[in-house]
Each structure stands twice: as structure tokens, then as C-alpha cells.
């Protein structure tokens, strides 16, 4: 993508070229670019996803620009790193708003970051789009300026419960990494499971970064569960599964693990014997929609990675496309508040289904109502600005992660 070394001369030439282009395009469109802030977890705990999320926003912006922009305005993306830390994110969003003058902020990942950034974007009257799971985000968003493209922790738990039930488990136990997401998943599961009349035989919350989880595991195994539902991450899951297998206890025990922990790396670390039968659950993109096919192809081209390796990238891609469509819906009013108010309009259940920005733009120009079907999910925001994506159920069989079914849960 980037040339590694540029001579000074080349830089100057390029700069002159860009300047000339800028003048030319300025004359052609007679409008300055519309500034969008991409605020992603490029470093820190979210780093496996952050770069892909950032690229997906840029990809969507490129598509919009290639189609002549939204309302004739080119989209210009300014990227910042949250470092997956609320403190760094607060300064980053201030920079985006005050220095770069962006009109919308999208792509925050962890709940802590989103909760810290929200008050600032809201105070500036700017919408915020995130992929976080904490329920508090919905209740704190009093101005309806915050949009969530990811399933809440509670919905994850519901999916776990539905899967456990479908698979005929009777005696589930839970193990949670002691953070908001870990607790959210297992407590969401327990709630849904108990509402359905079931009983959780044991539950353990553990502190991360330990040299061993044997005592925690022992308490779970002593209750003789038939399945353990995990709210965990890759390193602790690796250690816990290995210690379980080595102990030789409850060899028929099954595991339901979130997809970010039960992935190829887990299988690679532990081998096919240990991971045989592990059930991986993940929120999945809107895989059968043309928008996903379109996105997946572009993502593969841009990053060299399969779109399936980063579910959050599809979400941030949808953020940008949806925003572009909301702009396009009424070119006379392009203030952030006005565009924010039109988001539900381009996602309306009664509208024509559209799958790309170009399709949507054409339909809008023809005066039709539209319903953008996202690459990450069909969107369909509820009153809190939350989406309900589908979940995938995969099982590890002989070292391969095999997709078994797609799980849809009600709102």
C-alpha cells in the first residue's frame, strides 16, 4: 500500500500534486470534505481488531467518495487510537473534535472507552457509534446520539442459554474472567437460563493473570456439570482447558466459549484432542446479505485477512455507510444533529432494502425510503439505538472449527 521510502523530491512533487488536486476538486464540488473521526482500539487489549476496524471505516469512506461523495461532499476520515484505555480515549476524542473538527465519532470498542467518550461527544452534539457490550451505554445515552452495532452482553448470554438448551445440557456451570465483559456474558447466561426454569450448578469468577486456575477449576468440576459456559479470553481459556484435560476429571465435559477465546489460536495452542467438542459462540456478520459479500471481498483485498477474522470490522464498515446514507437522505441539512436524526430513517423497516451506499444513494435520489441491510447485521435499531445481530454456533472437530448453525434471538 505505502511506498516504503520517499525521497524529498518525491514528497514535494506529491504534495504539489495533492495541492493541485485539492484546488481542482474544490472547484469541482465547491464543498469541503466532511470530516469523520475513526476512534479505534489500535493498541492495547483491542489491538487484534483495531487496525481492521480502522481500515473498514476507510474502505467505506472510499466507496462513498468513489460514488461522488454523500451530497457531493467527500468523506475524509481522521483516525485515532484509544489505546483501549479510557484516559487516552478521552484525550483522543478531544483531539478529533477540537483539532480535527470531525462531525461524528465512530468505532470505539471496549465499554469503558465508550462510556468515557460518550459524555464528550454528546456535549459537543456529535453522534457516537460503538461496538461495546455494556448495558449502561443504553441507559447513559439520554440524547439518543449513541449507536451500538454489537450485541449487548445480555444478548450474548441469551444466545449461550439458547445453545445450551438446544444441545440438551442440563447441568451448566459458569466461569468468568473478572471484567465487565466476562461477567456480562455469564450473568446474562445465568439470567436467561434461570428464567427458562434451569439451574446453574456452580459459578466462579476468577482474577486474570494467574499462573494456575486449578483451584477455580476444581470447584467447578466438583459440582459435576455437563457443560461450562465461559466468559473468558484466549490466554486464560488456554490454561484452564489444558488444566482440565490434564486433570483427567470429567472427560466428557463440554465447553461453551465466546468466539474471541475459542478460535484457531486456541486449537493451535492445545491441539485437537483437548479442544475436541468445544462449542464456540460468536456474534456473526450478516453473512447471507449481499452487503456482507461485498464487504468481505473488499476487506480481503484491503487487509489480506478473511472478513470472518474480525467481526468488528464489518460493524465499523456499516457505521460509515449508514452515516453516508443518513447524510444523503436530506442534503439541505448536514449538521451532525440533523444527520443523526435521519439514521433510523435509512434503517426503516418499511423502506426498500439496499445493500451498498451506491444502491442507497440511487434509491434516495429517486425519492424512495430505504432500509440499509448491513454487512454486520440487518441493523434495525431498537429504541436504545442497539442492534441485534445473529450468533454462530461452531464446534471444534478434529482440530477444525466447524460452523454448525446460526442462532437468532428475539429482541
Amino acid at each position: 500500500m505505502e511506498r516504503p521510502v520517499l525521497s524529498m523530491r518525491q514528497v514535494l512533487l506529491a504534495a504539489a500534486g495533492v495541492a493541485a488536486l485539492g484546488i481542482a476538486s474544490g472547484q469541482a464540488f465547491a464543498a469541503e470534505p466532511f470530516l469523520v473521526g475513526a476512534l479505534n482500539p489500535v493498541s492495547g487489549a483491542g489491538s487484534p481488531y483495531g487496525s481492521g476496524m480502522q481500515k473498514a471505516i476507510a474502505m467505506a469512506a472510499d466507496e462513498i467518495n468513489a460514488d461522488g461523495g454523500a451530497c457531493g461532499r467527500q468523506i475524509q476520515v481522521v483516525s485515532e487510537d484509544t489505546q483501549t484505555s479510557p484516559d487516552a480515549a478521552v484525550l483522543a476524542v478531544k483531539k478529533l473534535i477540537d483539532v480535527n473538527k470531525v462531525q461524528v465519532v465512530m468505532g470505539t470498542w471496549s465499554s469503558g472507552v465508550t462510556l468515557a467518550v460518550m459524555p464528550i461527544t454528546t456535549a459537543a452534539g456529535l453522534p457516537e457509534m460503538n461496538t461495546s457490550g455494556a448495558p449502561a451505554i443504553s441507559t447513559e445515552d439520554k440524547a439518543d446520539l449513541v449507536w451500538r452495532f454489537q450485541a449487548t452482553n445480555g444478548r450474548f448470554g441469551q444466545a449461550f442459554a439458547k445453545i445450551a438448551k438446544e444441545r440438551g445440557f442440563k447441568r451448566p456451570a459458569t466461569m468468568a474472567y473478572n471484567n465487565a465483559s466476562g461477567l456480562g456474558n455469564t450473568e446474562g447466561f445465568a439470567k436467561a437460563w434461570k428464567e427458562d426454569g434451569g439451574k446453574v450448578v456452580a459459578s466462579v469468577v476468577y482474577e486474570p493473570k494467574q499462573a494456575s486456575y486449578r483451584s477455580e477449576l476444581q470447584q467447578i468440576l466438583a459440582a459435576n456439570p455437563d457443560v461450562v459456559v465461559m466468559g473468558s479470553y484466549l490466554p486464560d481459556t488456554t490454561i484452564i482447558l489444558r488444566e482440565w484435560y490434564q486433570s483427567g476429571q470429567n472427560p466428557d465435559l463440554k465447553w461453551i466459549i465466546p468466539g474471541w477465546a475459542a478460535n484457531e489460536k486456541l486449537v493451535e495452542a492445545l491441539g485437537p484432542d483437548v479442544t475436541q467438542g468445544v462449542i464456540a459462540v460468536d456474534s456473526i456478520s450478516n453473512e447471507n446479505a449481499p452487503s456482507y459479500a461485498h464487504f468481505a471481498e473488499a476487506y480481503k483485498k484491503a487487509t489480506g485477512q478473511p472478513a470472518g477474522s474480525n467481526v468488528y470490522a464489518a460493524m465499523t464498515y456499516d457505521m460509515m455507510v449508514l452515516w453516508g446514507l443518513a447524510m444523503q437522505a436530506d442534503c439541505s441539512k448536514l449538521t451532525p444533529e440533523a444527520i443523526n436524526g435521519r439514521i433510523r430513517g435509512v434503517d426503516s423497516a418499511s423502506g426498500d432494502k439496499v445493500f451498498t451506499f451506491a444502491e442507497g444513494k440511487k434509491a434516495l435520489e429517486a425519492g424512495k425510503a430505504i432500509n440499509y441491510q448491513g454487512a454486520s447485521s440487518q441493523l434495525a435499531f431498537d429504541q436504545y439505538g442497539d442492534v441485534t445481530p445473529d450468533f454462530s454456533l461452531s464446534v471444534v472437530e478434529k482440530g477444525e472449527i466447524v460452523r454448525k448453525s446460526v442462532v437468532t434471538i428475539g429482541k
Binding site: S47, N178, V204, V205, Y206, E207, K209, Q210, A211, S212, R214, S215, E216, Q218, Q219, A222, L234, P235, T238, I239, R242, Y245, Q246, S247, G248, Q249, K265, A269, L270, G271, D273, V274
Partner: protein
């Protein structure tokens, strides 16, 4: 059932404690002889664990992994002695402590810059445990016990049976006096940092065998290792190992009463109460320093 539960908890505590002990052994040597808490020990262990990934190239098997890790630990340790800690020798312990924290950050930054944040595992077969009474003993457990005993025996005999060990104890006792009486402190300190590096590398690779290799693993082990060091009195190798085991036992055995998430706090509480009663730590008698 009650006995079996506590026996298992105690066994888990013993093994976890021994992993901590090995790093504590490295820290206690530096603490006793160079007179500062070496916060970089954990990250030296991490480098050892990463170097252990080269083990399979050299010959495979746990032994080669450990040897590679120990070699890397020793190399890094001695290099930083010459570059950093020797010039700081005359200054206060706080200077060296802060510099060692800086070294820890720097080493970890270099690791993540070049190798990224992903976890790695050693290509070792995963073996089922043997039942011994109520316990389930894994091969890793035996390796850890053997390594800890050997390491402690080695450190103890070096300190008490070899000429260089004798000089180490002399320097630990009184660096000024040792210098006056013709002991070349430099050579003693090189030997000491070498051993400290070997021990850190050993603890890193064993932790890697037991868990996964990641850039933060050593730093996360540092606090318990510090606690074990001062619980057992600085400069006392036996104290460091017993301190580690004691904290491990206290943490695991407390879990039926305080829950799992508070067990790290229990370790701290044990340390605090001990220090309130015995400000010098538990084993002040046989320490290198007074």
C-alpha cells in the same frame, strides 16, 4: 471430601508458590548483594520464556526449552549489570529500583515491538495427570518441584561451598569491608547477576511450560515474587522459597472462605501482618544481610 478439597488446594498452592519462589530466589540474591529490589527480574523471566521457544530448534523437549531460557536470562542480566546497574552501584537503592523499573518497561517494549502481543505455547505434548491419593499430579508439577529443589540446592551450595559464594556473602555483609579486604566486588557481582539471570530464565520457562508465553507474564509474576522475597527476608535463599510457598498456600487455602477473586489480596495481607510482627521478615537469622 473436606480433606480432599484442602489437600488439593494446598497442592495447587505449593506448585504456584514454587513458580513464584524461583523468581523470588533471583530477586533475593540481587536484593541481598546489590541491595535493591530488582523490578526487572520479571521481564528477564519473560525474555527467558520467549527464548525457550527456540528450544525445539536446539533439540526439543522441556530440558532444551529450559536451557535456552536460562541462557537468555543470564545474558540479559549480565548485560544490564554492565550497562546500568554497575554505574549506579554507588547511588541509593531507590535509584537502582527506578532504573530497574525502567529496564522492565524497556525490555517488554522491545519484545512487543518486534514480536507482537500474541500468546505462544511450547510444542510439548499434553499429558494426563497421575492420581496420587486425592491429588492429581501432572508431569509439569514434578518438573517444577525438581527445578525448585535443584535451584535452591545450587544457590545454597554456591553461597556456602564455593570461594565465589563466600565472597558473595562477604560483599552482602559489608560491601565496603569486603572491598578493603581485597575482594574484587566486580567479579562477585558478575557472578551474582549471572546466577540471578539463570534463575529468572528458569522461572520464566517453567511458567511458560505451565501456562502460555506472553509479553506480560513476567511482570505479572513480579508482585508475588517481591512479596515472597521480603516475607522470607531479603538475601535469604531458603526464606525466598519458603516465602513463595507460604504465600501460595495462604492464597489457595483461603479461597473457600474469601472467594477466588480476593486471593491476591490475601497474599498481601499475609505479607503485611508478617511485617507488622517481624519487620525484617520471617527468616532474618540466616539472611545474607542484617
Amino acid at each position: 471430601m473436606g480433606f480432599s478439597l484442602f489437600a488439593n488446594l494446598a497442592f495447587n498452592g505449593l506448585i504456584t508458590g514454587l513458580v513464584v519462589s524461583l523468581l523470588a530466589l533471583s530477586i533475593t540474591l540481587v536484593f541481598g548483594i546489590a541491595r535493591f529490589p530488582n523490578a526487572a527480574a520479571g521481564d528477564v523471566a519473560t525474555v527467558g520464556a520467549f527464548a525457550g521457544l527456540l528450544g525445539p530448534l536446539a533439540g526439543g523437549g522441556t530440558l532444551w526449552i529450559i536451557l535456552c531460557g536460562m541462557a537468555a536470562g543470564a545474558l540479559l542480566s549480565v548485560a544490564f549489570y554492565f550497562l546500568l546497574f554497575r554505574p549506579l552501584a554507588g547511588k541509593s537503592a531507590v535509584s537502582s529500583l527506578i532504573a530497574s523499573i525502567g529496564m522492565a518497561f524497556f525490555v517488554r517494549a522491545a519484545l512487543t515491538f518486534f514480536l507482537g502481543h500474541d500468546q505462544r505455547v511450547y510444542p510439548l505434548p499434553i499429558v494426563r495427570a497421575m492420581p496420587v491419593g486425592p491429588l492429581r499430579v501432572q508431569p509439569t508439577d514434578i518438573e517444577i518441584v525438581v527445578a525448585a529443589v535443584l535451584a535452591l540446592a545450587a544457590v545454597f551450595s554456591i553461597l556456602h561451598l564455593t570461594p565465589i559464594g563466600k565472597r558473595m556473602r562477604a560483599v552482602a555483609d559489608n560491601a565496603e569491608l569486603a572491598r578493603v579486604s581485597g575482594i574484587r566486588a566486580n567479579r562477585v557481582l558478575v557472578a551474582m547477576w549471572l546466577i540471578a539471570g539463570l534463575l529468572a530464565g528458569l522461572s520464566g520457562t517453567l511458567l511458560g511450560v505451565k501456562t502460555v508465553v506472553s509479553p506480560e507474564m513476567g511482570w505479572d509474576l513480579l508482585m508475588p515474587a517481591f512479596a515472597a522475597t521480603i516475607l522470607g527476608t531479603i538475601g535469604n535463599p531458603v526464606g525466598a522459597v519458603l516465602g513463595g510457598v507460604l504465600i501460595g498456600l495462604a492464597q489457595e487455602l483461603s479461597t473457600p472462605f474469601v472467594g477466588f477473586t480476593y486471593k491476591l489480596g490475601v497474599g498481601f495481607l499475609v505479607l503485611l501482618v508478617t511485617l507488622l510482627i517481624r519487620p525484617q521478615g520471617l527468616f532474618a537469622k540466616n539472611s545474607l544481610v542484617r
